[in-house]
Symmetry: C2
Subunit: 122 residues, 2 copies
């Protein structure tokens, strides 16, 4: 049986974000993302045509959702569901060391939330 | 935006394993599993009709694959792909505290591995 570790084989090149597809099928894609202090370009937003579920596993990040006043700070273990076309930005990722994300992209556009997330903080 | 933490709201009942569906769609299901020292019943095997991708996020576990001599020890961050009908057993989970897993079940039976995992250890 083949076993890997999500925190192993981290890229040494810190000038860019690294995307690695761990699994892909017709309807979804599972991806590891490693950031090194990167943020979404100023003035730009992610506006995806598909639903995404994402968990931060190492490091930290600041996430801004369009229409919200405050940047949400994500710590290890924090996860959220981003419906298609919910515009959002990564304002910052931890400047020291790696920030590791696991992202599940629904490519069938049929993702539904069974377990409504609890609100964190205020 | 609603954010939860995978390590929060852990069940207090330690006499059983707890399964929580985080997301479900037509083709896949994402599940948090919390174990408290549980193991697969002696002499029994998991023999699933679907592919599964699983990552251990907290605690530790011993996994035995049918036909292998050695139990594989899983530590936080370790993940693997379990094709349908690959018979396997959880020999043990950490006796103290929780072992937290994130499991992605492919319900479309069409999962394919793009990125072949590296062998861990020997």
């Amino acid at each position: 049986m083949l076993i890997r570790n999500i925190f192993a084989d981290l890229p040494v090149e810190v000038d860019c974000e690294h995307f690695e597809t761990l699994l892909e099928c017709v309807n979804f894609k599972l991806e590891r993302i490693v950031s090194h202090g990167q943020a979404t370009t100023e003035g730009e937003w992610y506006d995806q045509g598909h639903d995404e579920w994402v968990i931060l596993l190492k490091g930290s990040a600041g996430l801004l959702i369009e229409g919200e006043d405050e940047i949400r700070q994500l710590m290890p273990g924090d996860y959220l569901f981003l419906p298609a076309h919910l515009r959002h930005r990564v304002e910052w990722t931890h400047a020291e060391g790696e920030t590791v994300w696991l992202a599940l992209h629904d490519q069938a556009h049929r993702l539904s939330v069974l377990s409504p997330p609890l609100q964190k903080g205020g």
